[in-house]
Subunit: 363 residues, 2 copies
Amino acid sequence: MSNKTYIMPAALHDAVVAAAYKKRGFTDEEAAAGARFCTLASSHGIKTHNAIKALHLDDLFGSKAGGCVPGATIEKLPSKFRAVARWNANRKLGQAVAFEAMAEAMRLADEFGCGTVAVDNAFHYLWGGGYVIDAASRGYIAYTCCTAALAEVVPFGGKFATLGTNPHSWAFPTTDAVGFPVCIDWATSVVAMGRVQQFAREGKPLPTGCGVDKDGRETTDPTKVVALMPFGQHKGYGLSLIDEILAAYVGGSLPTLRSRWKTGPKDEKHTPAFFFQCIRPDAISGDDFAQSRTQSQNVKAVIDDILGHGNAGVLLPGQPEAQAMALTKKYGGLLFTAAEIEALGEIAREAAVPFDVEKLATV
Amino acid sequence: MSNKTYIMPAALHDAVVAAAYKKRGFTDEEAAAGARFCTLASSHGIKTHNAIKALHLDDLFGSKAGGCVPGATIEKLPSKFRAVARWNANRKLGQAVAFEAMAEAMRLADEFGCGTVAVDNAFHYLWGGGYVIDAASRGYIAYTCCTAALAEVVPFGGKFATLGTNPHSWAFPTTDAVGFPVCIDWATSVVAMGRVQQFAREGKPLPTGCGVDKDGRETTDPTKVVALMPFGQHKGYGLSLIDEILAAYVGGSLPTLRSRWKTGPKDEKHTPAFFFQCIRPDAISGDDFAQSRTQSQNVKAVIDDILGHGNAGVLLPGQPEAQAMALTKKYGGLLFTAAEIEALGEIAREAAVPFDVEKLATV
């Protein structure tokens, strides 16, 4: 297979992805949100959550498996608490729900300083970093977390997987200060199950502290790993627990039943839950920055101090994604490997969108 | 020294601590908050932030060092954003400010569903877990973070300490569900500098991944450690960065100048910043819990699932603190070692509060 990198125009990519979603029964609006999300991921170099993965996820857990309902309507519950919205997503496409929820969190932040949206009966929104980077690029301090599709992580001190890889994503509106939104975004397991499978395929041992075998004993043999370990021992366990407990207040049910539609009693729930929050930076300003700096100059001074003193080799979280975005802009299109382009070609064929690989420019 | 555990009545403890604060020039209200905090910490078994440490901190960084100003008044800045308060603490005693800020976050949550308080020009509030446990025991989902007094932590991939041990504390109102508030509360370094010093005193090597020497190289020799490492590599680094960047938006200045009142230009700032948030559980409820459970029953079912399936040995975060609280209640007083009681006796003598160790009951 070729080592070339292909440049795919965003418009063509969006047409392919939207058509693929529409072929699966999603509405125009859902298909557009699905395409918008995949462009956001691929333009930031996120290969774990691009169009290929998004559609594969739909096959595994989504419209073909009952986890996601094309054309579903979000029910916005009434509330006496005006700065917090609570929604029943009715298993609508996760990306469409997440974009709309983050937009509502921004609107509430504009009015109240801080806006929160809790979403029940959700379907996987893929890459949380995308939504917070998008909100931060519009000027908000943004946060999201959710319960991951499957319980794959063993609580610290335990033997059996009862927690999701439950991610957290924060981003800050630091484009003025450092050129891009600082974005802290990761799952609470040391590695993803996909990475374990990759080690198994390559016949390599895992690093220590990543996974356990069927008896709950730590193992570095990727073929024996049945569950993952949280990062940072009790600390990562606690961070994973936050997503589960928040979700439980919203409406999420037993983690071990999540996305397993054929297990558990008939009156059980199997859906993840989402949580979004945006804060206006001016709402938390003490208006007293040293050396008469503006708020943004102060943020830049603090970050410069952190990266100073011989720490020039330190990366800011969000920097690799920003570098990928710069490449996307430089080449005027989304960058894919030959294998990825082949998979996108297959998606285009299925969705009957004309797509000639030979016409794509390469790097 | 005796191996006995002493039972100190809370009223006596509070009288000693309040008198010690008043002798340092703090107001009655500040002294009462200082005592309330130390009782909260000691009743939950928190030995790193009891009265002895609180007053020692005041010596090092507080009223004797310029970091804290007895009798200072909190300035509450006007805002058009009604769900977020922004305060200038004017270096008032951290514990008094934190209790008041968390109370305001609860009040705002009652009105808007979610309440946020950002505090500039703050002084160390000691144990963040105390404030969130207190708010959670009153029914709120509570969070706080702050910038730690000193920059002691090297960013991931760096050589020089430019980050505080910057803690995060979350608690959930789970008393109905599991008997106590689940509380996730820790610093973002692997260990505290005090723990490194303890290893040095005992002549023992540190675990790997805890500290670096003067050249920024990892070392397990505690006598050579000059800076700490974040937990979980880039993930703990990111969590520490969150506190620094949030603080920078509020008004905190360069981390390497923090609490170092004699360094930097005259128009610089040296104070930490605080961030508090409370959420009403009913504000995020989707009102759709499986098997007709109530919200609290749903939270219990989720936690039971996490601790089930052979995970009986797993502790919930907040459980050790709850067990210490149960012992405090059982014995009807705060529990201290002989060395701690001796130090408290010294504090009582200085503050001229009658305190006869011989009259204390022991376990």
